[in-house]
C-alpha cells in the first residue's frame, strides 16, 4: 500500500505489486490511471513515498517438474516478472497480452533472462491479434506434453481471469491467479477487499492476492 504525500485527496493508500526486489531498492511497475498514479509520475529521484508492505502472499513456487505457464494481461504482468526470474530454470512459457503494443511490458528484460514471451494485442500491433486467452487456448489444444505437467500463474483484468478459470476447468489445469479488489487498509482489518471463494469471502490483502485458480467463484 503506497501513498505519495500528505494531501487528503487522494486519501487512501493504493495497492501495488512488487515488480522487483533488488538489493536495497524495491521497484514497482505502474500504469497511470488516476489520482495517485498521476502524482507518482511527477515524482523525482529521492522524493519520499510512504509504503507499508510487503503484504499478503505471493505466487508459490511449486515443487516437482511441472512446467510453469505465466499469463499476464496489461499491467497485470507486473507481479509476474519476479516470479519468472525465480523460476527461469523451469523454462516457463510466458504469455503476455495487452490492448496495444505500447502496453506490452518488459519483454526486453524477459529476453535478457532467456524467456521469449508469446505476445498478443487486441489491436494486432504486436504479436498475434486478439486476446491472450485465445492464444493460450490454441496452445493448450495442441499441447505436446500431458496437461498435468503445466502449472499456470496469471494476473490481469477480470475478464481474462474469468476466461482462464473456464480454460483451467476445461483442460483440467492447476495453477494460481492474483486478484485485485478495492482496498482500504491492506492489513486485513477493514474487510473491503473480499472475493468470493468456494470457502466463502476471502481478503485479497491477507489470504491473497494469489489464490488457487479453482478456488475462486466468479
Amino acid at each position: 500500500m503506497l501513498s505519495a504525500d500528505n494531501s487528503l485527496d487522494p486519501l487512501l493508500k493504493r495497492p501495488f505489486s512488487l515488480f522487483r526486489w533488488l538489493d536495497k531498492d524495491i521497484q514497482i511497475l505502474y500504469r497511470v490511471v488516476g489520482k495517485l498514479t498521476n502524482i507518482l509520475k511527477d515524482k523525482k529521484p529521492d522524493d519520499i513515498l510512504e509504503i507499508i508492505g510487503p503484504l499478503g502472499n505471493g505466487f508459490p513456487v511449486i515443487k516437482g517438474k511441472a512446467r510453469p505457464i505465466l499469463i499476464g494481461g496489461g499491467i497485470g504482468s507486473a507481479p509476474l516478472f519476479s516470479l519468472a526470474e525465480t523460476i527461469k530454470h523451469k523454462k516457463p512459457i510466458f504469455f503476455i497480452g495487452a490492448k496495444t503494443k505500447k502496453e506490452i511490458l518488459y519483454t526486453y528484460a524477459l529476453k535478457s533472462i532467456g524467456i521469449n514471451p508469446i505476445i498478443s494485442t487486441d489491436d494486432g500491433t504486436l504479436g498475434q491479434k486478439g486476446v491472450i486467452t485465445n492464444v493460450l487456448r490454441e496452445f493448450l489444444t495442441h499441447h505436446s506434453s500431458p496437461i498435468t505437467d503445466y502449472c499456470i500463474y496469471a494476473c490481469g483484468p477480470r475478464p481474462m481471469l474469468k476466461e482462464l478459470t473456464l480454460l483451467s476447468e476445461k483442460f483440467n489445469l492447476k495453477g494460481y491467479i492474483a486478484l485485485e479488489e478495492n482496498m482500504a487498509c491492506g492489513v486485513g482489518a477493514c474487510l473491503s477487499c473480499v472475493v468470493n471463494t468456494k470457502n466463502g469471502f476471502k481478503r485479497v490483502c491477507k489470504e491473497g492476492p494469489v489464490f488457487p485458480i479453482e478456488e475462486i467463484v466468479w
Binding site: S3, L8, L11, L12, C185, A189, V194
Partner: protein
C-alpha cells in the same frame, strides 16, 4: 500530564480509541500500534451468528472520504470470545465490543452473551449501520424504537453501555437524549452518513450494495457539529468520531464536547494514526500549557 478520561464508570488512560470496523479485532494493526498505548480498542461489530456481509466491491474512495458497504461481516460472538478475545486481553487497554442485532431479542441475547465473559470492559451498541436492509434503520432513526432497544439491553448488562448514533437523522441531539433516558452510559457520535457513487460510463453503482457509509475527513464538519449539539443536550459522555485524521482534529472534538475520540478511516491512511494522534495530543498540551486533558472537554468559547 493527565490524559485519562472517564466514560461513565470506565476509566481510559487517554481519550483515543479506535473506531469499530476500522481496526479489525485489534491484532491486525498490532505491527503498527502498541495496543497498550491506546485508551481503548473497539472491535468490528459482532452479531450472535457469523455473517458473510455484502458482495464486493465494498468500498469506493470519494473526495477526502470513502464509502463502505462491508455489511457487518463478522465472525460472530462465539468465535470472537474463543479466538480473538484472549489475544486482546493480554494488553493493558480497555476492550470495547461493538455489536448489533436484527431484532430487539437478538440485541439482548448478544449483549447477554458478551456480558457473561471476562475481559470485556464496555459494549457499544450499533443502532446505525447504513448497510443493512431498509427497515433495520428504525433502530437508529425512530426514537421510540431506539428507546425500546436500548432499555432492553440496559436491563441485562452491567457493563458500560455505549450507544452509537446515526447521523442520518433530523435531530441527533434528540436521539442522544433518548439513549440517555433509556440508560446508556455514553453515546458514540457519529456512525457513517449514507452515500452513493456511480460509474458514469457503465451507469452502475460503484458499490455492489448500491449505497454505503461515508467516512473520513469529508464528514468531519458534520460530525463536529453533531457532537456539539449532543453535548448541549445530554449529561452522559460523548465519544466523538468522524473524519479525525490529526491530533488537532481530535482536540477539536474534545472542545466540541466529546470525552473521548475514535479513530476510524485515518487508520487506513496511516496505520500508525492512533499512536500519532496520542503523541500529537501530548505535544499540543505541552505547547498550550494544559496539564489535564479534561480542561479541553466541552470548552468551546462562544
Amino acid at each position: 500530564m493527565n490524559l485519562s478520561v472517564n466514560l461513565g464508570k470506565l476509566k481510559l488512560k487517554n481519550p483515543v480509541m479506535t473506531a469499530s470496523g476500522t481496526f479489525g479485532y485489534g491484532a491486525e494493526y498490532s505491527e503498527f500500534v502498541n495496543l497498550n498505548n491506546l485508551g481503548a480498542v473497539v472491535v468490528k461489530g459482532l452479531s450472535l451468528n457469523p455473517m458473510a456481509g455484502n458482495p464486493p466491491p465494498r468500498i469506493y474512495e470519494t473526495p477526502c472520504g470513502m464509502l463502505n458497504s462491508i455489511g457487518l461481516q463478522n465472525i460472530g460472538v462465539e468465535a470472537f470470545i474463543k479466538e480473538k478475545l484472549p489475544y486482546l486481553k493480554q494488553f493493558d487497554t480497555k476492550i470495547i465490543v461493538n455489536f448489533f442485532g436484527d431484532s430487539i431479542k437478538e440485541y439482548v441475547k448478544t449483549a447477554e452473551r458478551l456480558s457473561s465473559v471476562n475481559g470485556i470492559h464496555a459494549l457499544e451498541m450499533n443502532i446505525s449501520c447504513p448497510n443493512k436492509q431498509a427497515g433495520w434503520s428504525i433502530f437508529g432513526t425512530d426514537p421510540k424504537v431506539t428507546f425500546k432497544v436500548v432499555s432492553a439491553v440496559r436491563k441485562i448488562t452491567d457493563l458500560t453501555l455505549i450507544v452509537k448514533l446515526s447521523p442520518n437523522v433530523t435531530d441527533i441531539a434528540l436521539m442522544a437524549k433518548v439513549a440517555e433516558d433509556a440508560g446508556a452510559d455514553a453515546v458514540s457520535v457519529i456512525n457513517t452518513l449514507t452515500g452513493m457513487a456511480i460509474n458514469a460510463k457503465t451507469r452502475q453503482p460503484r458499490l455492489a450494495n448500491i449505497i454505503g457509509g461515508l467516512s473520513g475527513p469529508a464528514i468531519k464538519p458534520i460530525a463536529l457539529r453533531m457532537v456539539w449539539e449532543c453535548h448541549k443536550a445530554v449529561r452522559i459522555p460523548i465519544i466523538g468520531m468522524g473524519g479525525i485524521i490529526s491530533a488537532e482534529d481530535a482536540i477539536e472534538f474534545l472542545i466540541a464536547g466529546s470525552s473521548a475520540v475514535a479513530i476510524g478511516t485515518a487508520n487506513f491512511v496511516n496505520p500508525k494514526a492512533a499512536q500519532d494522534i496520542i503523541d500529537g495530543m501530548k505535544l499540543f498540551m505541552i505547547e498550550e500549557h494544559i496539564s489535564n486533558v479534561k480542561e479541553l472537554i466541552g470548552r468551546l468559547k462562544c
